[in-house]
């Protein structure tokens, strides 16, 4: 058809339409972490429950771990906590390491006492420096770390049962 060129604007319009429609589902707050696929940052930290006990990034070796960044002042963290508790019950071999991010140690301990403690270790990060090393910008955030200490995934925001079923558990199973 000689007049096909008149359909070009219409075609471009539909292209635009499809792109915009797809863009509706993007969430700018879900920034893909540049740490995925890399080893965890090195750190030296102290446990919340035992301020004299020093730990480093080596706690992640030889375990499949969840690294859960939380705080007592964060309402979404309280909301996801029950999901963490039941996950820990169902998958006890997965080590859950907690990071009490920018939290007063007394408040953090009180939070655990009240809501339960699924963590093998809880790191005290009152200043937030360890969080910054992990690229944390909001709470809660959860990292999935494999046996070699490599970060495989990061979930920003609370872990809903859907995220648990569709994203987290398949990955955990894959990691063995």
């Amino acid at each position: 058809m000689r007049n096909i060129k008149y359909f070009v604007p219409l075609f471009l319009f539909f292209l635009l339409l499809f792109s915009l429609r797809r863009g509706l589902h993007f969430n700018p707050h879900e920034i893909r972490s540049p740490l995925i696929g890399k080893s965890t940052p090195e750190f030296t930290a102290y446990l919340l429950q035992d301020p004299n006990k020093k730990i480093t990034q080596h706690i992640f070796l030889n375990h499949v771990s969840l690294f859960n960044v939380f705080a007592s002042w964060c309402p979404s963290c309280a909301a996801e906590h029950s999901v963490l508790m039941s996950f820990h019950r169902d998958y006890p071999t997965v080590q859950i390491v907690g990071l009490a991010f920018k939290d007063n140690s007394r408040d953090a301990l009180q939070f655990l006492k009240k809501m339960g403690n699924p963590y093998s270790f809880v790191i005290d990060d009152e200043r937030g420096n360890i969080g910054i090393d992990f690229g944390v910008y909001g709470t809660p955030e959860t990292f999935v770390i494999d046996q070699r200490g490599e970060i495989r995934d990061k979930i920003s925001g609370p872990i809903s049962p859907e995220i648990l079923q569709n994203q987290l558990i398949p990955l955990i199973k894959q990691l063995g």
């Binding site: 920034i31 540049p34 740490l35 920018k102 937030g128 910054i132 910008y137 909001g138």
Partner: protein, 144 residues
């Protein structure tokens, strides 16, 4: 008395910003100011670190302040931030494969718009029966 009071208020607000991040050299202070204006606040994503009130912005400003006073270069500090938060944290995106279209697209659209404009404003040749669109079909005789 009132004059003194007003002067007092005036000078407090003028000195506020300087006291928060004291520097030993003007060069460092400038470097710091440039950096916090070039980095995005990851929480309030349309703001830079300089103007954001988010707690994390405060933490990051302090972090950057410390690094500047410890003589880390701007380049190192920006790399530090992108290593942890990704390229998104730079308000001026880098020119890499992923951002190629982001950078090129405005120029492409400008060129396309110019082309369309040229085509649309070409005057129809008198009496010709070629593919110049609908302009030939408008009877201009009424303008005589």
């Amino acid at each position: 008395m009132r004059v003194i009071f007003l002067l007092f208020i005036f000078f407090i607000s003028a000195s506020h910003a300087a006291d928060l991040y004291p520097f030993h050299s003007v060069k460092q202070q400038k470097e710091f100011q440039t950096l916090i204006h070039e980095l995005r606040c990851v929480v309030c994503q349309n703001e830079d670190l300089a103007s954001s009130d988010a707690p994390i912005a405060n933490d990051l400003r302090l972090h950057i302040y410390k690094m500047v006073t410890e003589n880390y270069t701007s380049r190192y500090i920006k790399q530090y931030m992108t290593d942890r938060y990704g390229d998104f944290v730079l308000l001026k995106p880098p020119f890499i494969q992923a951002t190629f279209f982001l950078w090129i697209f405005p120029f492409v659209m400008l060129a396309a718009g110019a082309w369309v404009y040229c085509r649309a404003t070409r005057r129809p040749r008198k009496g010709s029966n070629n593919e110049r669109g609908i302009y030939n079909k408008i009877p201009f005789s009424f303008l005589k």
